[in-house]
Symmetry: C2
């Protein structure tokens, strides 16, 4: 698949079939993930693949609780029209069906002194984007989620993740029910500034 | 360019020519960046493009100071052999020549309540990876750097970035002196665990 086609048609796929994903494809998307950069090429990452039904069920319960805590107040907004309400309804569906995804991928990062300055996200989310692009090329749907972090201690205990290692996100992956396509975005001219905050210019 | 070719040949390009980058290409890589996901599709990002020589010079000085503070102790390690020493020497070159890059791109994120749980990196570094992949497809070199954050307050003041907005990284971009190619990585089997920490399996 051409790079720009992958980038422009990769949207969050929150409704997934329960059909299994061949292990070969899981390796393939992970192998693309680790091509991403990390600070000083330290590769502070691990990737925990969860396919065990009982572990997915528990994590799904914690995720749903996280969703309700963070977005419970948005119930009204879900019934509105427009892109934002559609995202909320789709995220609500995901929160109620997370464990049905055949595969969870949970990237982790080992903390370091440098991370204290720059945050640890810069050494894992480029890899996550590679993973999701590689999945897109295989026709596999993914979503970048972080709400399991409301119960991160429990998730870490369940999976045996040691101290000093943080789970950075949770990516449910599977064959999508919907179609890939371009998501709604503000135009690039509105969010780009030149040499100083607020200094927009027309796209030439 | 094919997706996997871009992902597998994208390495940090820390030695850049001073030749300018056409504005059209800057727009193109930014337009690819904003196709990435963000929490709830809130798109909390802005991208500050810096081409002003004096501003690049000042930021370059702060960056060099950050480099010396964080990695000054690594001077000895730079003279060793091996991949890690090569990365350090190349990063040392970048720190001493940052302002020569024709373009800096500084992505920013508006803080939010959700970010307090998940960190803000999940809503910007996927976009940064898209940007670097799109640059790769044009033959433009980039590096994901974060050491300006040692002097973030000064960088924000120089660029007029308001309170509640954080600069997330600094990407020097330009035509590379070296060649694209695959960087060294630990094998994916070593960093992948199945259903629990430490549970490796052979790649089928």
């Amino acid at each position: 698949m051409e790079l720009h086609e992958a980038m422009y048609s990769l949207r969050a796929m929150r409704r997934l079939k329960t059909d299994p994903v061949p292990e070969e494809l899981i390796w393939k998307v992970l192998d693309a993930a680790i091509r991403a950069p990390s600070g000083g090429n330290r590769q502070p990452w691990n990737f925990i693949v969860v396919t065990d039904a009982e572990k997915k069920r528990k994590i799904g319960e914690w995720y749903l609780d996280g969703w309700q805590k963070m977005y419970g107040a948005a119930q009204g907004a879900m019934e509105a029209e427009g892109d934002q309400a559609r995202v909320l309804r789709s995220a609500d569906h995901l929160a109620n069906h997370l464990a049905e995804a055949p595969v969870f991928i949970i990237p982790t990062v080992r903390a370091s002194g440098v991370a204290a300055v720059s945050g640890m996200g810069s050494s894992i989310f480029p890899a996550v984007q590679n993973l999701m692009l590689a999945a897109r090329a295989e026709g596999l749907g993914t979503t970048l989620t972080t709400l399991h972090k409301v119960h991160e201690a429990e998730v870490k205990e369940l999976l045996g993740v040691p101290e000093g290692v943080e789970t950075m996100c949770l990516i449910p992956m599977g064959w999508p029910k919907g179609k890939f396509g371009q998501g709604p975005r503000l135009p690039v001219e509105k969010v780009t500034y030149w040499d100083g905050w607020g200094e927009t210019k027309a796209k030439g």
